[in-house]
């Protein structure tokens, strides 16, 4: 604790870098995956290619990708851009699938109603399809956010400044506190981002609020006493699980 307080500016500076290096790829990844996912959804012929390329990209181990990218991009090996590009690649690989699943999850009746009301394809996509895709899409975003924050620290091995520096430095100095601070701060960042994403989802899906509040009550009521004290976290943790099984059902 003393070490943490004494080095607070240092730790906060690293956390700032860490947050920037993991949030920027999330945003870039989302901006690229939505059009890609839309294409994959609309054109079955492209779909196989996009989904298999993204799963191959996702297969490449992070440390290897961090090292291969400078050669491809012509950047210096210590450039944080390598980390940001690598995490963006992983984000796209995961999110394209989420976008496709999200667009598929939309009730076709709603879409037909929009067409009948005179929505042109472009406007319909932004006014009807995309908003309705938010719940499934955000389940994917939350997974990517957590994995980005956890992966970014590996960047410290190739000399990038973020919370991972606390791990490499702590190992060199054989200093436990520093490593624990690094782990706790990473978890705090992951939790923080998760809250932000849940909040955003809440703002973007006003029609779901009533239903969600009700289902949460039901959940608390049915799980009863063995879930005491962790009601809220259990509630938030349950939803991605439900979405996950929904996604699994979808692909079956």
């Amino acid at each position: 604790m003393d070490w943490f307080l004494a080095n607070l500016p240092f730790v906060l500076e690293l956390s700032g870098h860490h947050l920037y290096q993991s949030v920027l790829p999330l945003v870039l990844g989302l901006l690229i995956s939505v059009p890609l996912g839309y294409l994959a959804w609309r054109l079955p012929s492209v779909r196989g290619v996009i989904l298999s390329v993204s799963s191959v990209l996702y297969t490449i181990p992070s440390l290897a990708l961090f090292v291969i990218l400078p050669v491809i991009l012509g950047t210096r090996i210590l450039d944080p851009a390598n980390l940001i590009v690598a995490l963006t690649v992983y984000a796209i690989a995961l999110l394209v699938r989420s976008v496709v699943d999200a667009l598929e999850s939309i009730d076709d009746g709603v879409r037909q109603a929009a067409v009948a009301m005179g929505y042109r394809p472009f406007r319909r996509f932004f006014a009807v399809d995309l908003p309705l895709a938010v719940p499934v899409l955000f389940a994917g975003l939350r997974v990517v956010s957590v994995s980005n924050i956890s992966l970014a620290s590996v960047g410290a091995l190739i000399g990038i400044r973020n919370l991972g520096v606390l791990f490499t430095d702590g190992l060199l100095r054989h200093f436990l506190t520093e490593i624990v601070v690094g782990i706790v701060m990473t978890l705090v960042l992951a939790l923080l981002m998760d809250f932000v994403l849940v909040g955003l989802e809440h703002l973007l899906t006003p029609w779901n609020r009533h239903r969600k509040a009700r289902s949460k009550q039901v959940l608390v009521a049915t799980t009863g006493p063995d879930n005491s004290g962790s009601g809220d976290s259990a509630g938030t943790a349950r939803r991605p699980d439900a979405a996950e099984t929904a996604v699994l059902h979808e692909s079956l």
Binding site: L65, S150, A156, G182, N227, A237
Partner: protein
């Protein structure tokens, strides 16, 4: 001479293919750490996932613990275990096990939980015991999803084992860590290619296993809607 030619020469050098620091030895180490981690993690995650999926008990607790574990930074956990338990083979393996249990558990649990309830009622109606329901009905039906989770877990381990070289173990990550330490771009790039190729080959093998290990009864009913079991195994499904 550009980097690609140099890397080509590096691979062509017979010195890279023999001895304790040669590619076969490093590959063997990499696979050995991977298998060891998976065996320990599977011994924990699969029975637990089967129990939770079958009984529905402790679902909320396990799902929240598993998603919290996912947020743990790999490198942090590895260094923590080394500081606490010293150098050697097992401390990093335990750290890897902690990171591998969540995807295995999630795959097993969601596979079993997703089995149609009516099938289970039918099985019970036929007079099967709970154990028979689990082994003969739930497991075969859950297998595609379970293998999907396993595939994601295997790839995650292969990828994470590369980082283990940082704490004085072998494996293909050695080339990366040593290449960085002495600023040798050729070794660095060659190591990265080796790890990426290993991951891609293993993924390919697992996707084939997944295709052939699925119960024939499931396959015939699944192949008709078009997509079949192919998409279940993509890493996204288990993560």
């Amino acid at each position: 001479m550009n980097l690609f030619e140099q890397v080509g020469l590096w691979f062509a050098d017979p010195a890279q293919w023999s001895g304790p620091a040669g590619i076969p030895a490093r590959l063997g180490e990499h696979l050995w750490y991977t298998v060891l981690t998976l065996l320990i993690a599977a011994a924990i995650a699969i029975p637990a996932g089967m129990y939770i999926g079958h009984t529905g008990k402790g679902k909320v607790a396990v799902v929240s613990v598993a998603s919290a574990l996912r947020a743990l930074p790999t490198l942090g956990l590895l260094t923590l275990f080394v500081i606490l338990m010293g150098l050697g083979l097992m401390p990093p393996i335990y750290a890897l096990v902690i990171l591998t249990v969540p995807p295995l558990l999630a795959g097993t649990y969601s596979g079993i939980a997703a089995v149609d309830r009516q099938l289970l009622d039918a099985a019970r109606g036929l007079g099967m015991t709970e154990w028979q329901v689990l082994v003969r009905v739930e497991l075969p039906n859950a297998l595609p999803v379970m293998l999907g989770g396993m595939r994601a877990a295997v790839l995650q381990v292969i990828s994470t084992v590369a980082v283990v070289a940082y704490i004085n173990l072998g494996g293909l990550g050695r080339y990366l860590i040593d290449g960085l330490a002495v600023s040798d771009p050729v070794r660095l790039f060659a190591g990265a290619i080796l790890i990426a190729v290993l991951a891609l080959i293993v993924d390919l093998i697992l996707s084939m296993v997944q295709k052939y290990a699925v119960s024939p009864g499931l396959k015939s009913s699944l192949s008709s809607p078009g997509q079949g079991t192919k998409n279940v195994g993509a890493p996204g499904a288990g993560q």
